[in-house]
Symmetry: D3
Subunit: 249 residues, 6 copies
Amino acid sequence: MSATALPSTDDPLLVISAHAGDFVWRAGGALALAAERGQRAKVLCLSFGERGESAKAWRDGLDLHEIKALRRAEATSAAAVLGAEIEFLDAGDYPLLESPELVDRIVRVFREVSPAVVLTHTLVDPYNGDHPAAARMALQARVLAQAVGYDAPGEPLGAPPVFFFEPHQPEQCDFKPDVLLDITSVFDRKRKAMECLAAQQHMWDYYTDLAKRRGVQLKRNAGPNLGLPHTTMGEAYVRLYPQTTSVLA
Amino acid sequence: MSATALPSTDDPLLVISAHAGDFVWRAGGALALAAERGQRAKVLCLSFGERGESAKAWRDGLDLHEIKALRRAEATSAAAVLGAEIEFLDAGDYPLLESPELVDRIVRVFREVSPAVVLTHTLVDPYNGDHPAAARMALQARVLAQAVGYDAPGEPLGAPPVFFFEPHQPEQCDFKPDVLLDITSVFDRKRKAMECLAAQQHMWDYYTDLAKRRGVQLKRNAGPNLGLPHTTMGEAYVRLYPQTTSVLA
Amino acid sequence: MSATALPSTDDPLLVISAHAGDFVWRAGGALALAAERGQRAKVLCLSFGERGESAKAWRDGLDLHEIKALRRAEATSAAAVLGAEIEFLDAGDYPLLESPELVDRIVRVFREVSPAVVLTHTLVDPYNGDHPAAARMALQARVLAQAVGYDAPGEPLGAPPVFFFEPHQPEQCDFKPDVLLDITSVFDRKRKAMECLAAQQHMWDYYTDLAKRRGVQLKRNAGPNLGLPHTTMGEAYVRLYPQTTSVLA
Amino acid sequence: MSATALPSTDDPLLVISAHAGDFVWRAGGALALAAERGQRAKVLCLSFGERGESAKAWRDGLDLHEIKALRRAEATSAAAVLGAEIEFLDAGDYPLLESPELVDRIVRVFREVSPAVVLTHTLVDPYNGDHPAAARMALQARVLAQAVGYDAPGEPLGAPPVFFFEPHQPEQCDFKPDVLLDITSVFDRKRKAMECLAAQQHMWDYYTDLAKRRGVQLKRNAGPNLGLPHTTMGEAYVRLYPQTTSVLA
Amino acid sequence: MSATALPSTDDPLLVISAHAGDFVWRAGGALALAAERGQRAKVLCLSFGERGESAKAWRDGLDLHEIKALRRAEATSAAAVLGAEIEFLDAGDYPLLESPELVDRIVRVFREVSPAVVLTHTLVDPYNGDHPAAARMALQARVLAQAVGYDAPGEPLGAPPVFFFEPHQPEQCDFKPDVLLDITSVFDRKRKAMECLAAQQHMWDYYTDLAKRRGVQLKRNAGPNLGLPHTTMGEAYVRLYPQTTSVLA
Amino acid sequence: MSATALPSTDDPLLVISAHAGDFVWRAGGALALAAERGQRAKVLCLSFGERGESAKAWRDGLDLHEIKALRRAEATSAAAVLGAEIEFLDAGDYPLLESPELVDRIVRVFREVSPAVVLTHTLVDPYNGDHPAAARMALQARVLAQAVGYDAPGEPLGAPPVFFFEPHQPEQCDFKPDVLLDITSVFDRKRKAMECLAAQQHMWDYYTDLAKRRGVQLKRNAGPNLGLPHTTMGEAYVRLYPQTTSVLA
């Protein structure tokens, strides 16, 4: 079998997100692309972002229970727009505490989904400690799920590649893009998903501008001769592991 | 057009090599794979490696002229085994001197070949200054060839991705593989090409062992479930520019 | 409002220190300068350094209780000399254990002080694990204190810049100074504060020599034409976040 | 004299730019801010960017002489809008060749202008070899100009800080912002200067979006409490040398 | 006393290993060399590798108890072949959980053995989280054991140098060898120790090939004139702390 | 033969220095130690530092010829105090221009001396471009001298280890010490050699303080138990190539 076969519908995409909104801004395009190709696309939200990413709701006087419900509803809508499943572990945020129990819950998701590709946060983010905590747990769970001796239901996981999605201030997180993903064909859907997050309106334009910016870079790196449209939109990713392939391109 | 179409026969592969033997040890698999797929595969040797990589010939008492002829003959045979064209610029080695004139000659090769993929040396190599010199010139020539205002025949170059091939002591050259290339199907041909370099017999096994080692890593990173054979052979590469794609895999 | 207004008396400086003595050697000049300008200057000591930084006291046969009292007294005197307040959390050292409870206590200090500038240890120190542990907790607490949804008294914190102060073996801690602070005018006071730490006499000269060395570098980087005195004394810092300003200088 | 006095009108700002347009996109805000404060602001263009940055003019059929004249006119207009002087060395581009003679010409500019602050390109740019070449020469000339024994008119230079301005694809150039400069008050002027570069219309919006993006980050790093306006615009810089100061802020 | 005296029999070597097999593949040569010189050589295995490194045993249907016994037996045999003592802490693997209690147990081993040299895993390993966890605990314990105030039996530890041994995919673990150790004279013994690990037969050749590869590099770096035999075998290490010496060589 | 034999009198030490004074401040201890052991110790000064390192002489009104003579005399005295030979290439400084001819002259020195150890400047120094230029030429010459095919008298060079000596502002030059050399026994001689450089009196104390500082670190890294005297003096070095050895210590 070739090392470079493209993903098929048997090849799920799993996004592990610290808070309810992260997957939309940072990986919405990748999710929508996978869903369009018929891949199973699943989002695992470790928390609702109820404390750290819900400033407006707190200022509006909602209580913790109401905020969690609000964030769950928004994220569920956004996932639906993208064509993705979503699951919440409600592990709490700010801080998102690392624990063997939470890692074990993530292992079980890995074993159940058996993803062919995994997306998560960067390991460095001086603006938000929950993001690296989520990433560390996701990576640890992926390795544990590979071990036949790890006591959890399901088959041992293979070795799905891991991509870190783009943090809010990429340079400060040592994020140097390895991959520029062409999301032009699904950008409208990503925009609609962003608009499900009603309280963060200033982010809609920020991440639309970012998609344009990554699109310009994508065209520049793909080569002007490739004929990519002027309106190319992109998302940036960093690989954790080396790419395996049988074609250099 | 998609950002991820695989290379076709219209998509030449260009390898820029400081000395006559480098392309065999470091990129022989990539060349043979490209040739098998029907891509044009071309090697540009900036020098014959007549001073720095021909110790045995000097000890055997050959003169400069004879050594160049010997190295040319060996490299030509090796290229033929791999299915690649080869051109020599005879720019001298140890040291390979950087000059605007030599860069201009490389620009002209870029314009003539219009490669879709470029392979060259790493920018760091504390064991051999010719290697980084070749890489610097290759990269400079690639950028110059892109400019419509650069005065050389042919159309401006697109933006072919650049891969650095593996140096002799990779860690000391800050070489952290980004891509593991499956060369199992063409390894026999690479071995035959290596054997064309008669004076460097100790290298045949060293680079066969390396291909095994990169093959083991390729299997580990591709995932045990992928069913790659036990005898997988690999070559390692580092990307200079971000990959552009419409599928994460 | 400008991004570059200098700190006023409304702008407290907060130093978070793993042990009782660290703030003196590493940030004594910054504290004295702030106090002289009329800023509130506060030191938060997470522990007394009773196990890891009190070798002489242990050799002299004091018990844990006595050593804590001794270190508290010394650090309190040193802070007074510098014009700073001091608070001890008595969280234990060697090891200083990270916990959500301890982080929460630090959050509460952030909310109470509302610092305009924060100083703490580097994130890397292979000679002393308590230092990075203190830094990680300080940074986590700073981010938590910013969230309106974090359940602690007081207003959400702004975004005070963070400076890492100089570790004992800077190069081994990947400490590359971003800022050289001119402490000439308060160096006498820093020296007196150092002398409050009676058991560590060998450090008085080591850190006086260091201040000279950083002073020489300060003059070199500020330019010989600037007319800084021959006796310039300095402290070195590394920024965690980018400087915000409306003037490049 | 203090290490932190803000620049006065005696404190010129010097921007050293490889091509005629670079200073507008990358340092237009800094130039306009300096000019508004009454500082002398000077741009030194090593070339016109006649080959590498004038694709449209070549496609329109202009010859080399015409393109240089066009680029000179555009850059002169842009500098005037920003309130800056401009000088062209016409050293050729693509490639911009490094030579002792060209470095000597730059030394003489340093000696004549005696800048208090220097801005130039980054030392890494895999998309454009002229940018690092300009930076290397600028840095070498600055050091040479400091030596009393260097044979050129004028007084030895002090030690002006050097800031690298932002390249087109910052992460790929290892550009991690150290300084976010608030250019809100002069952004209109920067936009007008950009519009002087008629052939590069797609860049106007790209760099307006970038200014917004850096503005958002500036607000985030300065702290929400600082009351910066929603429309804050920014430019990003990296320092080469440590900042010297007598206040941490 | 000189800073460069070679180790004597009073100078124990301590290897801290996450799992039962690691010390064989990665430090078997160093252990055998020390034992041959008459140094005490001790291996501390934090776990048996019962879950993460025993895939074949699980597939063969053994239970946890049986697997631990098997791994203990194999590792004990391998240590004996190398001439080393071995102790197991049975702390569990996959994940190896960090705790103050486990660190304290390691401190006590440090105090008891008083090693002159310490070997452990790298701090980065994206393929196996137990390895960095073991390294972090080993390093923390070493620092704690140095403090006279740390409450454990025995004398405070000196400052034994720490060497990281080679991980399975060195480049991906940022492993850049600082030291190439000549293990030619004891390689047969290392091979026999590897063969004690019956279930991991594919590793015997992988690590034999690696020893050859490191041997070739050792000869290259030592200089061809040194007359090292063609069959030189090596192990690679990275230093954590600077070497102290009175001779540069 | 062992990979770890200590240097004998057949093992020359070669220091390659950009200017006449560098070898004293940065490698004086290593030179004196080698000379005391009976090794041949040789300094190669590429220039006299007549423009860049002789500010006082220029201010005193000496002309170029007089300054070169002065610097030659001082450096010759200092070398004599250290027990070292010295040779000047008078290649000019500020800038020290790189050329194939100068590299060839250095190759011939390598072939003549056949050093067992080589010391030179760091490859990064933003304060002095001549230092990296000297280092680049020294490293290139070392590699060329190894090639049997390089046309220069003498036998091909082996593979002598290269150590970078300490620059003036080490952190800004990315200088992270790998080796701390104990120079206590020869420090008086180093001090006397420094005093031969009459015009740079401020440096005598700066580098005496630095030797104390590196001595404190040496004791800390060697371990308090080793009994090094309180007055230990040190020099710091960075290795370019991995150490080859048969003992870990």
